[in-house]
């Protein structure tokens, strides 16, 4: 899963330095997995997975379409 920073975040680059992303930048899953507090405190959110991006599909019966008439069996 990819993660998006909600604020500036720094993490070690493994070479004695640091990597920094600003708000909106991508945070690797390996960093988030090892630091669950980033999710718990809202410092990262799933990338491209926000509530407003979830398509809403409503299923409403189309009343303009008349149901097929039943065949009357008059016997």
């Amino acid at each position: 899963m990819n993660w998006s920073a909600t604020t500036g975040i720094n993490w070690p680059d493994g070479n004695g330095g640091e990597v920094r992303v600003e708000a909106g930048g991508e945070v690797p899953d390996v960093i988030v997995s090892a630091n669950s507090w980033l999710v718990q405190d809202g410092h990262v959110v799933p990338r491209n997975w926000t509530a407003s991006a979830i398509p809403v599909v409503e299923f409403v019966p189309d009343l303009a379409i008349a149901p097929p008439e039943k065949d009357h069996d008059d016997g």
Binding site: G8, N10, P12, E18, W37, D41, H43
Partner: protein, 245 residues
């Protein structure tokens, strides 16, 4: 627990290191109370808590102002007398000479200088004194995160371990006494593990002497540090600290 002598204090007022100007400072926090005594109070007064506030009183040596700018403490106090302009009046006081990250102290909000006086006595140096009233919460639990010094390259300062996170936010004060070139941006970051860091306070870019105080709410993680992002061929001389509420 350590005791400290007044001689070990350093005071920063607005854009000024006022340590060489002041001889005393007294910041007082108050809480109002309202009488809530009833017939059922069993002969004892009862009170409900009211509004909080803080006031400060400071005194220093009066000096002549040299040049066109504000170079003396007297002129600086006069400049903020009756003014509530943000960034002119925050005070940061640190003990332990304020020469090491982790030194403790307290931080004020913006304030209005309400009174100035210049007592003159035949047997003493001329002094200037002032009183001020605060426009926000006083931070008594301050930690120095950057000693007054110039950063000429982007720097991540050493961290301070609070042993645990806190839940009630806090106040961060930044005093920039000088900036050259295009200056830079100062931030305060917090961390749960002293490894991955998240911005807690981002100050407006400092391109000249300036002062900013800022409050945050909610969780402040266990570790704190200051970081600077300095523009090419520039420098920012600053002192920064944070007080947990």
């Amino acid at each position: 627990m350590a005791r400290f002598h007044g001689d070990d204090c350093r005071v920063y007022l607005g854009v000024r290191d006022a340590s060489a100007d002041l001889v005393s400072i007294d910041l007082t926090a108050s809480a109002e109370t309202h009488d809530a005594t009833t017939f059922g109070s069993s002969n004892f007064r009862e009170v409900d808590a009211g509004l909080f506030s803080w006031e400060g009183a400071l005194a220093g040596f009066w000096q002549t102002n040299s040049g066109a700018g504000i170079t003396s403490i007297e002129r600086q106090l006069e400049n903020i007398l009756g003014s509530d302009t943000s960034g002119k009046s925050p005070v940061s006081v640190y003990v332990g000479d304020a020469d090491a990250i982790g030194d403790t102290g307290y931080l004020t909000s913006d304030a209005v200088v309400t009174k100035m006086s210049t007592p003159i006595a035949i047997g003493d140096l001329i002094k200037v004194s002032a009183t001020m009233k605060g426009n926000g919460r006083l931070g008594f639990n301050a930690i120095l995160l950057h000693v007054l010094a110039a950063d000429s390259t982007s720097t991540n300062s050493a961290s301070v371990d609070n042993a645990a996170s806190s839940a009630s936010g806090g106040r961060g004060n930044l005093h920039v006494t000088a900036a050259t070139g295009s200056g830079g941006t100062i931030k305060i970051q917090h961390s749960s593990d002293n490894s991955v860091w998240v911005d807690l306070v981002t100050y407006t870019a400092s391109t000249a002497a300036s002062c900013q105080t800022s409050t945050v709410t909610g969780t402040v993680n266990r570790y704190l540090r200051a970081i600077s992002t300095i523009s090419a061929a520039s420098s920012v001389t600053f002192v920064a600290g944070f007080a947990r509420f």
